[in-house]
Symmetry: D2
Subunit: 219 residues, 4 copies
Amino acid sequence: MSRFSFGIIGASGKMGKEIQSVMEDAGHRFVFAYDINQCLQESNPNVLIDFSLPEVLDRTIAYASVFNSPLVIGTTGYTESQSDKIRELSKTIPVVQSYNFSIGIQMLIKCTELLSANLTDWDVEISETHHRFKKDKPSGTAIMLKNAVGKDVNISSLRLGNVPGEHTVSFGGLGEVISLSHSATSRRTFAEGVLKASEFAHRQKEPGLFSFRDVLFTK
Amino acid sequence: MSRFSFGIIGASGKMGKEIQSVMEDAGHRFVFAYDINQCLQESNPNVLIDFSLPEVLDRTIAYASVFNSPLVIGTTGYTESQSDKIRELSKTIPVVQSYNFSIGIQMLIKCTELLSANLTDWDVEISETHHRFKKDKPSGTAIMLKNAVGKDVNISSLRLGNVPGEHTVSFGGLGEVISLSHSATSRRTFAEGVLKASEFAHRQKEPGLFSFRDVLFTK
Amino acid sequence: MSRFSFGIIGASGKMGKEIQSVMEDAGHRFVFAYDINQCLQESNPNVLIDFSLPEVLDRTIAYASVFNSPLVIGTTGYTESQSDKIRELSKTIPVVQSYNFSIGIQMLIKCTELLSANLTDWDVEISETHHRFKKDKPSGTAIMLKNAVGKDVNISSLRLGNVPGEHTVSFGGLGEVISLSHSATSRRTFAEGVLKASEFAHRQKEPGLFSFRDVLFTK
Amino acid sequence: MSRFSFGIIGASGKMGKEIQSVMEDAGHRFVFAYDINQCLQESNPNVLIDFSLPEVLDRTIAYASVFNSPLVIGTTGYTESQSDKIRELSKTIPVVQSYNFSIGIQMLIKCTELLSANLTDWDVEISETHHRFKKDKPSGTAIMLKNAVGKDVNISSLRLGNVPGEHTVSFGGLGEVISLSHSATSRRTFAEGVLKASEFAHRQKEPGLFSFRDVLFTK
């Protein structure tokens, strides 16, 4: 696999630091950082990564245009008009955008779709467990799983200690139950997803808007 | 262990049949049955068991008084005044009454109390999974577990296929989670609880009102 | 869906009775039974089902040839030369053969293959729990799951009470774990698989040897 | 609760740092550190904690004697003669020694003993899951659990990704299964156990050798 240089917008955040570490471990070079605290620019990066805040978007777009580099976006909370800007940008460069860069969750979604398509008359239940500090119920990932099921299903939300995150989709037929569970044990797993997304983005020869799913399942 | 004779009120119901089978397997003799369909009386039973309906209570009390035998009651749905009658009866004979004769659930309650007493600042979540045909949420057993926790906790109810019954109590601290789970796989387990309750009742020398918990944990 | 008539070889066995019940519930007509205890023949069946013993195979083949009906085989333990005979038979009529007619297990295998193909550098662990009376370790289904993983993985076998059967395949990456679990709660689920296999066999216009997987996933 | 001063032998290790942080968060004062890298002594500590290496023991004993302070030991790997020295020391000061300061695991052991004493004819299975880097099978904690069961039971060891540590004890009767599970999500949980042990040690008025279990369950 070819090595390339990368930059991070939001470099000093928790995810930013983790991404830098994982990308460097994979042999890629950290050459650009933009942040509330800093602006380092050793050279133009081959790939730009944004894990920051929605209000930074215009600057992110400006940088990506100047660098003419693929962009990977993990920032959440964009308005509709901001999403339009990202779509516009993706006509000129490859853009990978996702709300969840965990490979395991994407695989869980894939399995959920497979079972939902084949076990149409089974009951489905989703449950998610997160740390007590998480205020929103249900989790965004649980909603993604519900969308994968494709019908209205019950979501149970449990809040326990400092559990990083667990999601289970259970299918019940008369006489058997299948449960698909995902459990996150560290933030590192998301950074590794960003690494894969960056490598995918760097390989693209054409502009386009890609999901993390495209990253994982496009041959 | 000494063998004894027993009778069942509600003998032809699903639980009645299962109880008869388990009691006979243990060497006890089936000598009396009362039912909407039948009234068999070979001899007076040493222990009387009632798994029937609330409206039969007066007759059950009459039989127990005539036989002067200990009584085990698994029937549910008594009114307050009926409960008073049972309490009154227990002044003259030993009565064991419970809504759940599963040994495992009683042990789960015991463990739940132990953890609740020692992990007072941990989060607690209860979840229960039953077959799709169960209409009430949450299950009665989940409520018993909540009482064992001793504070107001969230109960998640899942309905899946034909799951006989699963209950989980999870305790979450900062850095660790303990989960206690019980899963029923057949009705037989409840009949075995009734067997234990009958043997306990038969051993009692004094009248009194006992719970299934007394059966299991009294030396 | 069109209704048809069916026959069962091994009709008075536990699976035979369950299959008859499920097939009749679906509107199909029971017109033929062959057994150590009986031979009932109301008319020639449209589909023949064999859940018996290996030594009956020659007779099964003879009947299927006479009836010129599709055959569904759930009997296990055939010798290699017997398997050859089945393969030969499948050149003249549609034959569905499987060691496991649980739809859920087939879906679990499908998900296992999906994850194994996409998470090649993750660790994989298989575990299975069955009742204490099961002597063989690991279960045949666990071996099927291992084959689905496609590499040599550890299988843990637990023996507990009268658990009908649970299988779990866990995938562990750095930072996340995915677990796929299947739990059987009754024999009925296998009979429902046989129903699907019979309907599939009845729809086939050409001879051929089919797996239960073909039944589920062929459009 | 009264605040006190404490010292750590092995202060710059991973556990040492975590312990310092948790103890300070609880309001206790860090006044002494001994280490391969340092020796800080602001004043004599009220409680001394040792999370270091076996070869440091003589120095630990010397410090504890000089300070005349209770001692909490989490270091593992002592020889028999070193254990004798610790026992000797405990005749003059309170000493708390344990191989596992997780409160949850102690509670799991307590529940395991409770079930083992009451469900003597049930099957028992222990399983443990740890990260792929853990070489020993089974884990020390699984062996503690086996001792709590009090009979020879099977232990299944799974190795997956970077799972910090999960232990499950399952009890299976005919018709029901109870599972007790513990899952660790961070090292912090062990430091909190050391905090409790320190507070317990500080409260002791008499010398003695105590386990972490005494810390949790002594009134």
